[in-house]
């Protein structure tokens, strides 16, 4: 038996009613000594903040998941710890991006800065320098910053899924 897949539709501007009523943006306890704040902005093709976006992150090694809506400045925020290494793959978070105007969610990855394993990670290694730089968070004031560009010359790399 093979059934046809149900198509995707946008989350629309009012997803907060159903998806972010509860705080679910802590993949780790803020009290954890290794906890890091991970934050950034979701930006459109005019580099304007997307204030009705939704970011979901998944640490497949630690089995920890979270989501954050974006605020008036397009900002999202999580508390994370760096996932453990997994074989040849550098530590990373898998990320889905949802928004009004995005008819299907987009898949990207957040890698950690200064991580030696980034140099040999099979996915990062297959990308150009410019592409790779869109996937590595930046250390900033003791936190991690990761902006997501939906379009433009510095568009974030999105993966087929």
């Amino acid at each position: 038996m093979s059934l046809a897949k149900t198509p995707s539709q946008t989350v629309g501007p009012y997803y907060a009613i159903g998806l972010t009523r509860r705080d679910q943006n802590e993949l780790a306890s803020p009290a954890d000594a290794a906890a890091l704040r991970l934050h950034g902005q979701l930006l459109d093709g005019d580099r304007r903040p997307v204030n009705d976006g939704l970011i979901e992150v998944w640490d497949r090694v630690g089995k920890r998941w979270g989501r954050s809506g974006t605020d008036a400045d397009g900002r999202f925020s999580f508390v994370v710890t760096k996932p453990d290494a997994d074989g040849a793959e550098a530590p990373r978070l898998d990320v889905f991006v949802f928004a009004r105007g995005l008819l299907r969610h987009q898949l990207t990855r957040i890698y950690f800065p200064g991580e030696p394993a980034n140099d040999t990670d099979p996915v990062l290694s297959a990308l150009s320098d410019d592409e790779r730089s869109t996937l590595v968070a930046q250390a900033e004031d003791g936190a991690l910053r990761f902006d997501i560009h939906l379009q433009g010359g510095d568009q974030t790399v999105f993966f087929a899924h």
Binding site: M1, S2, L3, A4, K5, T6, P7, S8, Q9, T10, V11, G12, P13, Y14, Y15, A16, I17, G18, L19, R21, D44, G45, D46, R48, V50, D52, E56, W58, R60, K63, W65, D94, F96, F98, A99, R100, G101, L102, L103, R104, H105, Q106, L107, P122, V123, A126, L127, E131, L150, Q151, Q155, T156, V157, F158, F159, A160, H161
Partner: protein, 244 residues
């Protein structure tokens, strides 16, 4: 077929070659212009699609989280409906214990959200959100009221057909789906760029629920049935014990 009054700049002709895929840069849906990514997608190794996604089996789901008509002291206005169905994969296997979340406008077509300023009344007895976990056969079930159609600013005299937003996780990470469930026979279908961003008419039908007399509750509620089919999430993702 041309439908009188349909603006060809807003709704493109059918194109079955899209299959189940939505057209990400659908021009008639204005918000896609600055938001739909333009660079080609990068393909990940096949094994990535098999990784497990989050599991929500231990979420503290409230006894009334699935019933949007009993979350306040009084009952919401509108046609009471039961919306139910199964979450399956492409091979027809049920996805058990998976989280289904919904949100919707009230019967007057207004969302309980500060950004929605459509001058239809808010309903003090309706927040418009629910969630549940599927059972062992992949069944989900919600009780709610039928949402109203509502105007939006996409183009002149734009109206969304009545719909309920659905978010589903599945088992593999890449099975994730967010979509909208529509109601059969809605006269607004030919005019809505979001609905028609699914270019294949057969695929669009998969977003439309069916009236189901067998699930109505006499003297109480009408019923609509809608099954949700998720992608496989990569070959071999289903544990052996699920092959029955």
């Amino acid at each position: 077929m041309t439908v009188p009054g349909v603006d060809p700049e807003i709704v493109l002709p059918d194109d079955p070659s899209f299959g189940p895929e939505v057209q990400l840069d659908y021009p008639g849906y204005r918000s896609t212009r600055l938001r739909a990514p333009k660079s080609p997608l990068v393909t990940l190794p096949e094994e990535f699609h098999a990784i497990d996604g989050p599991v929500f089996g231990d979420l503290p789901i409230g006894e009334l989280d699935h019933d949007l008509t009993r979350q306040f002291a009084g009952e919401p206005l509108g046609e009471r409906i039961v919306v139910s169905g199964r979450v399956l994969d492409e091979d027809g296997r049920p996805l058990r214990n998976t989280l289904v979340e919904i949100w919707q406008a009230n019967a007057g077509g207004r969302y309980h959200h500060q950004v929605d300023q459509h001058p239809a009344p808010l309903d003090p007895n309706f927040a418009g959100a629910g969630r549940c976990l599927t059972d062992d056969d992949g069944n989900y079930r919600f009780v709610t009221v039928k949402p109203g159609a509502y105007p939006w600013g996409n183009h002149e005299n734009a109206w969304r057909p009545a719909h309920i937003h659905f978010s589903v996780f599945g088992r593999a990470f890449t099975q994730r789906l967010v979509t909208q469930m529509y109601f059969p026979g809605d006269p607004l279908f030919p005019f809505d760029p979001i609905f028609n961003s699914v270019r294949d008419p057969k695929a669009r039908e998969l977003m439309v629920s069916a009236f189901d007399l067998s699930r109505t509750q006499p003297e109480w509620a009408l019923a609509f049935t809608w099954n949700i089919v998720l992608g496989r999430g990569g070959a071999g993702t289903t544990p052996l014990e699920d092959h029955e």
